[in-house]
Protein backbone atom coordinates (compact mmCIF):
# COMPACT_ATOMS: atom_id res chain seq x y z
CA UNK A 1 0.00 0.00 0.00
CA UNK A 2 1.15 3.53 -0.45
CA UNK A 3 0.41 6.89 1.08
CA UNK A 4 -1.45 9.50 -0.87
CA UNK A 5 -0.63 13.17 -0.64
CA UNK A 6 -3.78 13.56 1.42
CA UNK A 7 -2.44 10.95 3.86
CA UNK A 8 0.74 12.95 4.18
CA UNK A 9 -1.20 16.13 4.84
CA UNK A 10 -3.45 14.36 7.32
CA UNK A 11 -0.57 13.01 9.41
CA UNK A 12 1.31 16.30 9.18
CA UNK A 13 -1.83 17.91 10.55
CA UNK A 14 -2.02 15.33 13.36
CA UNK A 15 1.62 16.01 14.18
CA UNK A 16 1.12 19.80 13.92
CA UNK A 17 3.80 20.27 11.31
CA UNK A 18 3.10 22.86 8.66
CA UNK A 19 3.56 21.42 5.21
CA UNK A 20 2.88 22.91 1.79
CA UNK A 21 1.93 21.04 -1.36
CA UNK A 22 5.47 20.86 -2.72
CA UNK A 23 6.78 19.52 0.59
CA UNK A 24 3.90 17.08 0.85
CA UNK A 25 4.72 15.76 -2.57
CA UNK A 26 8.42 15.32 -1.81
CA UNK A 27 7.62 13.76 1.54
CA UNK A 28 5.11 11.41 -0.01
CA UNK A 29 7.82 9.92 -2.22
CA UNK A 30 10.27 9.45 0.65
CA UNK A 31 7.70 7.98 2.97
CA UNK A 32 6.56 5.52 0.35
CA UNK A 33 10.12 4.25 -0.10
CA UNK A 34 10.29 3.76 3.63
CA UNK A 35 6.91 2.07 3.77
CA UNK A 36 7.97 -0.27 0.98
CA UNK A 37 10.76 -1.37 3.30
CA UNK A 38 8.37 -1.63 6.25
CA UNK A 39 5.94 -3.65 4.19
CA UNK A 40 8.33 -6.62 4.22
CA UNK A 41 7.26 -7.38 7.74
CA UNK A 42 3.65 -7.87 6.73
CA UNK A 43 4.39 -11.31 5.29
CA UNK A 44 5.37 -12.73 8.68
CA UNK A 45 2.82 -14.90 10.42
CA UNK A 46 2.57 -13.60 13.95
CA UNK A 47 -0.51 -15.52 15.09
CA UNK A 48 -0.07 -16.49 18.73
CA UNK A 49 2.91 -14.19 19.18
CA UNK A 50 2.48 -11.75 22.05
CA UNK A 51 3.58 -8.21 21.31
CA UNK A 52 6.80 -7.08 23.01
CA UNK A 53 6.47 -3.60 24.43
CA UNK A 54 9.42 -3.64 26.80
CA UNK A 55 12.87 -5.14 26.75
CA UNK A 56 12.48 -6.59 30.24
CA UNK A 57 9.56 -8.57 31.63
CA UNK A 58 9.17 -6.56 34.81
CA UNK A 59 6.28 -4.75 36.43
CA UNK A 60 5.88 -1.11 37.30
CA UNK A 61 7.56 0.05 40.49
CA UNK A 62 5.42 2.27 42.67
CA UNK A 63 6.34 5.48 44.43
CA UNK A 64 5.05 6.31 47.91
CA UNK A 65 2.45 9.05 47.97
CA UNK A 66 4.60 11.81 49.40
CA UNK A 67 5.30 15.34 48.21
CA UNK A 68 8.97 15.61 47.29
CA UNK A 69 9.00 18.53 44.87
CA UNK A 70 9.53 22.17 45.71
CA UNK A 71 8.59 25.29 43.76
CA UNK A 72 11.10 25.77 40.94
CA UNK A 73 8.93 27.74 38.56
CA UNK A 74 11.33 30.66 38.37
CA UNK A 75 14.13 28.41 37.10
CA UNK A 76 11.81 26.56 34.74
CA UNK A 77 10.29 29.72 33.33
CA UNK A 78 13.67 31.34 32.74
CA UNK A 79 13.81 29.32 29.51
CA UNK A 80 10.18 29.86 28.47
CA UNK A 81 9.31 31.81 25.31
CA UNK A 82 6.61 33.91 26.99
CA UNK A 83 5.52 34.17 30.63
CA UNK A 84 3.62 36.64 32.76
CA UNK A 85 2.59 36.45 36.41
CA UNK A 86 3.92 32.93 36.58
CA UNK A 87 1.78 31.80 33.65
CA UNK A 88 2.98 30.49 30.31
CA UNK A 89 1.47 32.64 27.59
CA UNK A 90 0.12 31.21 24.37
CA UNK A 91 -2.01 32.63 21.57
CA UNK A 92 -5.63 32.79 22.64
CA UNK A 93 -7.22 29.40 23.25
CA UNK A 94 -10.72 29.07 21.87
CA UNK A 95 -12.97 26.41 23.35
Amino acid sequence: MSLSQDDVKRIARLARIEIDDAQAQATQGQLNTIFDLIATMQAVNTDNVSPMAHAQEVYQRLRDDVVTETDRHAAFQAVAPAVENGLYLVPKVIE
Binding site: H54, Q60, R63, D65, H73, G86, L87, L89, K92, E95
Partner: protein, 476 residues
Protein backbone atom coordinates in the same frame (compact mmCIF):
# COMPACT_ATOMS: atom_id res chain seq x y z
CA UNK B 1 -44.03 10.34 18.65
CA UNK B 2 -42.89 9.10 22.02
CA UNK B 3 -39.18 9.41 22.65
CA UNK B 4 -36.84 7.63 24.98
CA UNK B 5 -33.78 9.31 26.43
CA UNK B 6 -30.51 7.39 26.78
CA UNK B 7 -27.79 8.73 29.05
CA UNK B 8 -24.36 7.47 29.97
CA UNK B 9 -22.02 9.38 32.26
CA UNK B 10 -18.26 9.73 32.34
CA UNK B 11 -17.15 11.11 35.65
CA UNK B 12 -13.65 12.44 36.32
CA UNK B 13 -12.92 12.11 39.99
CA UNK B 14 -9.75 13.67 41.31
CA UNK B 15 -8.13 11.20 43.66
CA UNK B 16 -7.32 12.60 47.08
CA UNK B 17 -3.62 11.74 47.03
CA UNK B 18 -1.10 14.15 48.50
CA UNK B 19 1.17 14.02 45.47
CA UNK B 20 0.57 13.76 41.74
CA UNK B 21 0.13 10.52 39.87
CA UNK B 22 3.53 10.58 38.16
CA UNK B 23 5.54 13.12 40.16
CA UNK B 24 6.19 14.23 43.71
CA UNK B 25 4.42 17.59 43.28
CA UNK B 26 1.70 18.60 45.70
CA UNK B 27 -1.92 18.34 44.56
CA UNK B 28 -3.17 21.00 46.98
CA UNK B 29 -5.73 23.31 45.40
CA UNK B 30 -5.28 27.04 45.03
CA UNK B 31 -1.50 27.55 44.90
CA UNK B 32 0.04 30.39 42.88
CA UNK B 33 0.34 29.51 39.17
CA UNK B 34 2.92 26.88 38.25
CA UNK B 35 4.38 26.69 41.75
CA UNK B 36 3.24 23.08 41.97
CA UNK B 37 4.41 22.10 38.51
CA UNK B 38 7.61 20.08 38.64
CA UNK B 39 9.97 19.19 35.79
CA UNK B 40 7.86 16.08 35.15
CA UNK B 41 4.59 18.03 35.22
CA UNK B 42 5.80 20.62 32.73
CA UNK B 43 7.36 17.89 30.59
CA UNK B 44 10.92 19.12 30.43
CA UNK B 45 12.99 17.11 27.96
CA UNK B 46 14.22 13.84 29.46
CA UNK B 47 11.98 13.58 32.50
CA UNK B 48 10.11 10.36 33.23
CA UNK B 49 6.96 9.33 35.09
CA UNK B 50 6.96 7.16 38.21
CA UNK B 51 3.59 5.89 39.40
CA UNK B 52 2.08 6.91 42.75
CA UNK B 53 1.08 3.86 44.81
CA UNK B 54 -1.68 5.88 46.49
CA UNK B 55 -3.50 6.50 43.22
CA UNK B 56 -3.47 2.81 42.36
CA UNK B 57 -4.68 1.92 45.82
CA UNK B 58 -7.63 4.31 45.53
CA UNK B 59 -8.59 2.78 42.21
CA UNK B 60 -8.47 -0.68 43.78
CA UNK B 61 -10.65 0.58 46.62
CA UNK B 62 -13.19 1.92 44.16
CA UNK B 63 -13.21 -1.31 42.19
CA UNK B 64 -13.85 -3.32 45.33
CA UNK B 65 -16.59 -0.93 46.44
CA UNK B 66 -18.58 -1.40 43.23
CA UNK B 67 -17.98 -5.13 42.94
CA UNK B 68 -15.95 -4.72 39.76
CA UNK B 69 -13.24 -6.82 38.19
CA UNK B 70 -9.77 -5.59 39.05
CA UNK B 71 -7.42 -6.23 36.18
CA UNK B 72 -4.48 -7.92 37.88
CA UNK B 73 -2.26 -6.57 35.11
CA UNK B 74 -3.23 -3.20 33.72
CA UNK B 75 -1.42 -0.85 31.39
CA UNK B 76 -0.96 2.87 30.82
CA UNK B 77 -1.33 4.20 27.30
CA UNK B 78 -0.54 7.53 25.73
CA UNK B 79 -3.41 9.53 24.26
CA UNK B 80 -2.03 12.12 21.88
CA UNK B 81 -3.41 15.55 21.11
CA UNK B 82 -2.05 19.06 21.14
CA UNK B 83 -3.38 21.51 23.67
CA UNK B 84 -1.40 24.06 25.67
CA UNK B 85 -2.57 22.70 29.02
CA UNK B 86 -1.30 19.23 28.04
CA UNK B 87 2.48 19.64 28.37
CA UNK B 88 3.66 16.36 26.88
CA UNK B 89 1.33 16.51 23.89
CA UNK B 90 -0.16 13.30 25.23
CA UNK B 91 -2.13 12.33 28.27
CA UNK B 92 -1.14 9.19 30.16
CA UNK B 93 -4.34 7.21 30.46
CA UNK B 94 -5.55 3.62 30.21
CA UNK B 95 -7.32 2.37 27.11
CA UNK B 96 -7.07 -1.34 26.40
CA UNK B 97 -6.36 -2.60 29.91
CA UNK B 98 -7.94 -0.32 32.52
CA UNK B 99 -7.51 -1.09 36.20
CA UNK B 100 -11.25 -1.51 36.86
CA UNK B 101 -13.87 -3.13 34.64
CA UNK B 102 -17.56 -3.73 35.31
CA UNK B 103 -19.26 -3.23 38.64
CA UNK B 104 -22.58 -1.62 39.47
CA UNK B 105 -24.14 1.12 41.53
CA UNK B 106 -27.62 1.18 43.06
CA UNK B 107 -29.54 4.39 42.60
CA UNK B 108 -32.81 5.57 44.11
CA UNK B 109 -35.18 7.81 42.16
CA UNK B 110 -38.11 8.63 44.42
CA UNK B 111 -39.32 5.28 45.66
CA UNK B 112 -37.81 3.40 42.72
CA UNK B 113 -34.52 1.58 42.96
CA UNK B 114 -32.36 0.86 39.92
CA UNK B 115 -29.03 -0.76 39.30
CA UNK B 116 -26.73 1.10 36.93
CA UNK B 117 -23.83 -0.88 35.51
CA UNK B 118 -20.38 0.56 35.05
CA UNK B 119 -18.28 -0.09 31.99
CA UNK B 120 -14.91 0.69 33.45
CA UNK B 121 -12.84 3.01 35.57
CA UNK B 122 -9.31 3.93 34.59
CA UNK B 123 -6.46 5.94 36.00
CA UNK B 124 -5.18 8.96 34.15
CA UNK B 125 -3.54 12.32 34.70
CA UNK B 126 -5.39 15.62 34.75
CA UNK B 127 -4.41 18.49 32.45
CA UNK B 128 -3.48 22.01 33.50
CA UNK B 129 -5.73 25.02 33.23
CA UNK B 130 -6.06 27.67 30.55
CA UNK B 131 -6.85 31.09 31.96
CA UNK B 132 -8.69 33.11 29.41
CA UNK B 133 -8.47 36.50 31.07
CA UNK B 134 -6.84 38.82 28.70
CA UNK B 135 -3.04 38.78 28.74
CA UNK B 136 -2.62 41.15 25.78
CA UNK B 137 -4.91 38.91 23.77
CA UNK B 138 -3.14 35.75 24.93
CA UNK B 139 -4.11 32.87 27.19
CA UNK B 140 -2.22 32.05 30.38
CA UNK B 141 -1.37 28.45 31.21
CA UNK B 142 -1.17 27.18 34.78
CA UNK B 143 0.13 23.64 35.07
CA UNK B 144 -0.42 23.14 38.81
CA UNK B 145 -3.27 20.75 38.10
CA UNK B 146 -1.35 18.87 35.40
CA UNK B 147 -0.63 15.39 36.65
CA UNK B 148 -3.26 15.31 39.37
CA UNK B 149 -4.54 11.73 39.50
CA UNK B 150 -7.97 11.12 38.06
CA UNK B 151 -10.15 8.06 38.09
CA UNK B 152 -12.40 8.29 35.05
CA UNK B 153 -15.53 6.32 35.83
CA UNK B 154 -17.63 5.35 32.83
CA UNK B 155 -21.20 4.08 33.12
CA UNK B 156 -23.14 2.01 30.67
CA UNK B 157 -25.78 4.06 28.79
CA UNK B 158 -28.45 2.82 31.16
CA UNK B 159 -30.03 5.98 32.47
CA UNK B 160 -33.32 7.05 30.95
CA UNK B 161 -33.93 10.49 32.44
CA UNK B 162 -32.06 13.44 33.87
CA UNK B 163 -33.40 12.44 37.28
CA UNK B 164 -31.75 9.04 36.96
CA UNK B 165 -28.54 10.63 35.75
CA UNK B 166 -28.50 12.95 38.72
CA UNK B 167 -29.32 10.09 41.09
CA UNK B 168 -26.44 8.09 39.62
CA UNK B 169 -24.05 11.03 39.84
CA UNK B 170 -25.09 11.63 43.44
CA UNK B 171 -24.74 7.99 44.37
CA UNK B 172 -21.27 7.95 42.79
CA UNK B 173 -20.34 11.17 44.56
CA UNK B 174 -21.49 9.67 47.84
CA UNK B 175 -19.48 6.52 47.23
CA UNK B 176 -16.17 8.13 46.26
CA UNK B 177 -16.28 10.51 49.21
CA UNK B 178 -17.56 7.73 51.49
CA UNK B 179 -14.56 5.53 50.78
CA UNK B 180 -12.29 8.55 50.99
CA UNK B 181 -10.75 8.46 47.52
CA UNK B 182 -12.05 11.90 46.45
CA UNK B 183 -12.83 15.06 48.37
CA UNK B 184 -15.93 15.53 46.25
CA UNK B 185 -15.46 19.28 45.98
CA UNK B 186 -17.33 20.10 42.80
CA UNK B 187 -16.52 23.84 42.79
CA UNK B 188 -12.81 22.99 42.76
CA UNK B 189 -13.35 20.47 39.98
CA UNK B 190 -12.74 17.35 42.05
CA UNK B 191 -15.82 15.67 40.58
CA UNK B 192 -16.61 16.56 36.94
CA UNK B 193 -19.30 14.98 34.88
CA UNK B 194 -19.55 14.47 31.12
CA UNK B 195 -22.97 13.33 29.94
CA UNK B 196 -23.50 11.39 26.72
CA UNK B 197 -27.06 12.04 25.69
CA UNK B 198 -29.14 10.64 22.86
CA UNK B 199 -32.81 10.07 22.14
CA UNK B 200 -34.58 7.38 20.16
CA UNK B 201 -38.18 6.55 19.32
CA UNK B 202 -39.66 4.51 22.16
CA UNK B 203 -39.32 0.84 21.36
CA UNK B 204 -36.34 1.23 19.02
CA UNK B 205 -33.42 -0.93 20.09
CA UNK B 206 -30.49 0.83 18.50
CA UNK B 207 -29.21 4.02 20.07
CA UNK B 208 -29.63 7.42 18.52
CA UNK B 209 -26.62 9.60 17.74
CA UNK B 210 -25.20 10.99 20.94
CA UNK B 211 -23.84 14.35 21.86
CA UNK B 212 -21.46 14.71 24.77
CA UNK B 213 -21.99 17.53 27.25
CA UNK B 214 -18.60 18.32 28.77
CA UNK B 215 -17.51 19.30 32.23
CA UNK B 216 -20.65 19.70 34.33
CA UNK B 217 -19.62 20.65 37.82
CA UNK B 218 -22.92 20.63 39.72
CA UNK B 219 -25.87 18.29 39.93
CA UNK B 220 -28.21 21.12 39.04
CA UNK B 221 -26.28 21.91 35.86
CA UNK B 222 -26.26 18.21 35.05
CA UNK B 223 -30.04 18.11 35.27
CA UNK B 224 -30.54 21.36 33.38
CA UNK B 225 -28.07 20.49 30.67
CA UNK B 226 -29.60 17.08 30.02
CA UNK B 227 -33.14 18.47 30.05
CA UNK B 228 -32.20 21.15 27.55
CA UNK B 229 -30.24 18.73 25.38
CA UNK B 230 -33.07 16.18 25.29
CA UNK B 231 -35.61 18.84 24.33
CA UNK B 232 -33.28 20.20 21.66
CA UNK B 233 -32.60 16.76 20.19
CA UNK B 234 -36.29 15.83 20.10
CA UNK B 235 -37.24 19.15 18.51
CA UNK B 236 -34.46 18.81 15.98
CA UNK B 237 -35.58 15.32 15.02
CA UNK B 238 -39.25 16.24 14.95
CA UNK B 239 -38.42 19.14 12.67
CA UNK B 240 -36.90 16.63 10.30
CA UNK B 241 -33.31 17.39 11.26
CA UNK B 242 -30.46 15.04 12.09
CA UNK B 243 -28.27 14.83 15.16
CA UNK B 244 -24.56 14.98 14.42
CA UNK B 245 -22.18 13.50 16.92
CA UNK B 246 -20.65 16.43 18.76
CA UNK B 247 -19.14 17.74 21.92
CA UNK B 248 -21.10 20.54 23.52
CA UNK B 249 -20.70 22.87 26.46
CA UNK B 250 -23.42 23.89 28.87
CA UNK B 251 -23.98 27.60 29.45
CA UNK B 252 -25.50 27.87 32.93
CA UNK B 253 -26.52 31.51 32.40
CA UNK B 254 -28.53 30.84 29.27
CA UNK B 255 -29.41 27.32 30.44
CA UNK B 256 -28.55 25.86 27.07
CA UNK B 257 -25.92 23.75 25.40
CA UNK B 258 -23.75 24.96 22.54
CA UNK B 259 -21.22 23.41 20.21
CA UNK B 260 -17.60 23.97 21.17
CA UNK B 261 -16.24 26.78 19.06
CA UNK B 262 -12.92 25.12 18.40
CA UNK B 263 -12.85 23.47 15.04
CA UNK B 264 -14.29 20.05 15.54
CA UNK B 265 -11.60 17.90 13.97
CA UNK B 266 -11.88 14.18 13.70
CA UNK B 267 -9.84 13.09 16.69
CA UNK B 268 -7.19 10.49 16.19
CA UNK B 269 -5.57 10.00 19.56
CA UNK B 270 -2.98 7.48 18.37
CA UNK B 271 -3.12 5.48 21.59
CA UNK B 272 -0.23 3.14 22.29
CA UNK B 273 1.23 1.62 25.48
CA UNK B 274 3.44 4.14 27.27
CA UNK B 275 7.00 2.82 26.91
CA UNK B 276 8.09 4.82 29.97
CA UNK B 277 5.76 2.86 32.25
CA UNK B 278 5.67 -0.88 32.79
CA UNK B 279 2.53 -2.97 33.28
CA UNK B 280 1.02 -2.55 36.76
CA UNK B 281 0.61 -5.73 38.74
CA UNK B 282 -2.02 -5.99 41.46
CA UNK B 283 -1.18 -8.90 43.68
CA UNK B 284 -3.79 -10.62 45.84
CA UNK B 285 -2.21 -9.60 49.14
CA UNK B 286 -2.38 -5.99 48.17
CA UNK B 287 -5.99 -6.24 47.06
CA UNK B 288 -6.94 -7.98 50.32
CA UNK B 289 -5.12 -5.36 52.36
CA UNK B 290 -7.10 -2.64 50.58
CA UNK B 291 -10.33 -4.59 51.05
CA UNK B 292 -9.65 -4.65 54.78
CA UNK B 293 -9.66 -0.85 54.83
CA UNK B 294 -13.16 -0.67 53.34
CA UNK B 295 -15.78 0.06 55.97
CA UNK B 296 -19.52 -0.56 55.54
CA UNK B 297 -20.64 0.78 52.18
CA UNK B 298 -23.75 2.89 51.53
CA UNK B 299 -25.76 0.04 50.02
CA UNK B 300 -25.13 -2.28 52.96
CA UNK B 301 -25.87 0.50 55.36
CA UNK B 302 -29.15 1.30 53.62
CA UNK B 303 -30.30 -2.27 54.02
CA UNK B 304 -29.29 -2.28 57.66
CA UNK B 305 -31.03 1.02 58.36
CA UNK B 306 -34.23 -0.41 56.93
CA UNK B 307 -34.08 -3.58 59.00
CA UNK B 308 -32.57 -2.17 62.17
CA UNK B 309 -34.34 1.17 62.39
CA UNK B 310 -37.44 0.51 60.34
CA UNK B 311 -36.90 3.44 57.99
CA UNK B 312 -38.15 3.34 54.40
CA UNK B 313 -35.92 2.56 51.44
CA UNK B 314 -36.18 6.18 50.37
CA UNK B 315 -35.22 7.47 53.80
CA UNK B 316 -32.37 5.01 54.02
CA UNK B 317 -31.04 6.29 50.70
CA UNK B 318 -31.26 9.91 51.85
CA UNK B 319 -29.64 9.14 55.20
CA UNK B 320 -26.70 7.45 53.52
CA UNK B 321 -26.17 10.46 51.26
CA UNK B 322 -22.86 10.93 52.97
CA UNK B 323 -20.82 9.07 55.50
CA UNK B 324 -21.13 11.97 57.94
CA UNK B 325 -24.90 12.11 57.61
CA UNK B 326 -25.24 8.37 58.06
CA UNK B 327 -23.05 8.42 61.13
CA UNK B 328 -25.02 11.32 62.54
CA UNK B 329 -28.29 9.55 62.02
CA UNK B 330 -27.08 6.33 63.55
CA UNK B 331 -25.67 8.03 66.64
CA UNK B 332 -28.91 9.93 67.18
CA UNK B 333 -31.05 6.85 66.53
CA UNK B 334 -29.05 4.77 68.99
CA UNK B 335 -29.18 7.50 71.62
CA UNK B 336 -32.99 7.59 71.61
CA UNK B 337 -33.74 4.10 70.34
CA UNK B 338 -36.25 5.69 67.98
CA UNK B 339 -35.07 5.12 64.40
CA UNK B 340 -38.06 6.45 62.53
CA UNK B 341 -38.37 9.53 64.71
CA UNK B 342 -34.65 10.16 64.43
CA UNK B 343 -34.87 9.82 60.63
CA UNK B 344 -37.74 12.33 60.56
CA UNK B 345 -35.82 14.81 62.64
CA UNK B 346 -32.58 14.43 60.72
CA UNK B 347 -34.26 14.73 57.34
CA UNK B 348 -36.74 17.35 58.52
CA UNK B 349 -35.92 19.95 61.14
CA UNK B 350 -32.16 19.42 61.12
CA UNK B 351 -31.72 19.36 57.34
CA UNK B 352 -33.90 22.44 56.95
CA UNK B 353 -31.91 24.34 59.54
CA UNK B 354 -28.59 23.27 58.00
CA UNK B 355 -29.75 24.24 54.52
CA UNK B 356 -30.91 27.59 55.69
CA UNK B 357 -27.62 28.26 57.44
CA UNK B 358 -25.67 26.76 54.50
CA UNK B 359 -23.88 24.35 56.76
CA UNK B 360 -23.11 20.73 56.16
CA UNK B 361 -23.76 17.97 58.61
CA UNK B 362 -20.25 18.00 60.00
CA UNK B 363 -20.74 21.62 61.00
CA UNK B 364 -24.09 21.09 62.70
CA UNK B 365 -24.37 23.09 65.95
CA UNK B 366 -26.68 20.36 67.25
CA UNK B 367 -24.82 17.16 67.92
CA UNK B 368 -26.25 13.74 67.20
CA UNK B 369 -26.24 12.96 70.92
CA UNK B 370 -28.23 16.12 71.63
CA UNK B 371 -30.75 15.29 68.95
CA UNK B 372 -31.05 11.81 70.42
CA UNK B 373 -31.70 13.27 73.87
CA UNK B 374 -34.32 15.59 72.42
CA UNK B 375 -36.12 12.69 70.77
CA UNK B 376 -35.99 10.76 74.03
CA UNK B 377 -37.89 13.64 75.69
CA UNK B 378 -40.54 13.53 72.99
CA UNK B 379 -40.88 9.82 73.40
CA UNK B 380 -41.28 9.95 77.18
CA UNK B 381 -43.98 12.62 76.85
CA UNK B 382 -41.93 15.44 78.35
CA UNK B 383 -42.11 17.38 75.11
CA UNK B 384 -44.77 17.81 72.49
CA UNK B 385 -43.61 18.09 68.92
CA UNK B 386 -44.07 21.82 69.08
CA UNK B 387 -42.13 22.20 72.31
CA UNK B 388 -39.45 19.96 70.92
CA UNK B 389 -38.96 22.43 68.09
CA UNK B 390 -38.39 25.17 70.62
CA UNK B 391 -35.86 23.01 72.44
CA UNK B 392 -34.18 22.31 69.08
CA UNK B 393 -33.89 26.03 68.54
CA UNK B 394 -32.27 26.31 71.93
CA UNK B 395 -29.80 23.57 71.04
CA UNK B 396 -29.04 25.28 67.72
CA UNK B 397 -28.31 28.53 69.55
CA UNK B 398 -26.00 26.70 71.91
CA UNK B 399 -28.15 27.30 74.96
CA UNK B 400 -27.05 24.09 76.64
CA UNK B 401 -28.22 20.51 76.88
CA UNK B 402 -31.80 19.35 76.26
CA UNK B 403 -32.99 19.00 79.85
CA UNK B 404 -31.38 22.27 80.89
CA UNK B 405 -33.16 24.11 78.08
CA UNK B 406 -36.49 22.52 78.97
CA UNK B 407 -35.96 23.57 82.56
CA UNK B 408 -34.67 27.03 81.88
CA UNK B 409 -37.35 27.90 79.37
CA UNK B 410 -40.17 26.12 81.19
CA UNK B 411 -40.96 24.02 78.16
CA UNK B 412 -41.96 20.87 79.98
CA UNK B 413 -45.24 19.50 78.75
CA UNK B 414 -47.94 19.94 81.40
CA UNK B 415 -48.53 16.65 83.13
CA UNK B 416 -50.38 18.04 86.16
CA UNK B 417 -54.13 17.88 85.39
CA UNK B 418 -54.93 20.31 88.20
CA UNK B 419 -52.93 23.01 86.52
CA UNK B 420 -54.69 22.35 83.20
CA UNK B 421 -58.11 22.46 84.86
CA UNK B 422 -57.24 25.88 86.32
CA UNK B 423 -56.27 27.20 82.91
CA UNK B 424 -59.45 25.79 81.36
CA UNK B 425 -61.47 27.43 84.10
CA UNK B 426 -59.85 30.75 83.38
CA UNK B 427 -60.27 30.43 79.59
CA UNK B 428 -63.94 29.46 79.85
CA UNK B 429 -64.56 32.36 82.18
CA UNK B 430 -62.82 34.82 79.91
CA UNK B 431 -64.53 33.65 76.70
CA UNK B 432 -68.28 33.36 77.42
CA UNK B 433 -69.07 34.22 73.82
CA UNK B 434 -67.13 31.30 72.40
CA UNK B 435 -68.72 28.97 74.96
CA UNK B 436 -72.13 30.23 73.92
CA UNK B 437 -71.37 29.75 70.22
CA UNK B 438 -70.13 26.22 70.74
CA UNK B 439 -73.19 25.29 72.67
CA UNK B 440 -75.36 26.68 69.88
CA UNK B 441 -73.68 24.28 67.49
CA UNK B 442 -70.71 26.20 66.08
CA UNK B 443 -67.88 23.67 66.13
CA UNK B 444 -65.33 26.32 65.10
CA UNK B 445 -65.68 27.96 68.48
CA UNK B 446 -64.21 24.82 70.03
CA UNK B 447 -60.97 25.21 68.11
CA UNK B 448 -60.71 28.82 69.27
CA UNK B 449 -61.03 27.68 72.85
CA UNK B 450 -58.36 24.98 72.39
CA UNK B 451 -56.10 27.65 70.97
CA UNK B 452 -56.70 29.89 73.96
CA UNK B 453 -55.87 27.08 76.38
CA UNK B 454 -52.69 26.20 74.48
CA UNK B 455 -51.70 29.85 74.42
CA UNK B 456 -52.37 30.30 78.13
CA UNK B 457 -50.23 27.20 78.84
CA UNK B 458 -47.47 28.68 76.71
CA UNK B 459 -47.70 25.60 74.56
CA UNK B 460 -46.85 23.27 77.40
CA UNK B 461 -50.28 21.64 77.56
CA UNK B 462 -50.70 18.32 75.83
CA UNK B 463 -53.07 19.10 72.93
CA UNK B 464 -54.81 15.73 73.12
CA UNK B 465 -55.43 16.21 76.81
CA UNK B 466 -56.71 19.76 76.22
CA UNK B 467 -59.19 18.44 73.66
CA UNK B 468 -60.41 15.76 75.94
CA UNK B 469 -60.76 17.91 79.06
CA UNK B 470 -62.34 20.86 77.25
CA UNK B 471 -64.93 18.63 75.61
CA UNK B 472 -65.77 17.08 78.93
CA UNK B 473 -66.21 20.50 80.51
CA UNK B 474 -68.35 21.96 77.71
CA UNK B 475 -70.63 18.97 77.57
CA UNK B 476 -71.33 19.23 81.24
Amino acid sequence: MKWETVIGLEVHTQLATRSKIFSGSSTAFGAAPNTQASAVDIALPGVLPVLNRGAVEYAIKFGLAIGATLNRVNVFDRKSYFYPDLPKGYQISQLAKPIVEGGALKIQVGETERIIHLTRAHLEEDAGKSLHEDFHGMTGIDLNRAGTPLLEIVSEPEMRSSAEAVAYARALHTLVTWIGICDGNMQEGSFRVDANVSVRPAGQTEFGTRREIKNLNSFRFLQQAIDYEVRWQIETLEDGGRIEQATVLFDPDKVETRMMRSKEEAHDYRYFPDPDLLPIKLDEDWIEAVRATLTELPVAMQARFQSEYGVSAYDAAVLTGSRALADYFETAAKACDQGKLAANWVMGELSAALNKAELDIAQSPVSAAQLGALITRIQDGTLSGKLAKQVFEGLWEGAGEVDAIIEARGLKQMSDSGELEKIIDAVLAANPKSVEEFRSGKDKAFNALVGQVMKASKGRANPAQVNERLKARLHN
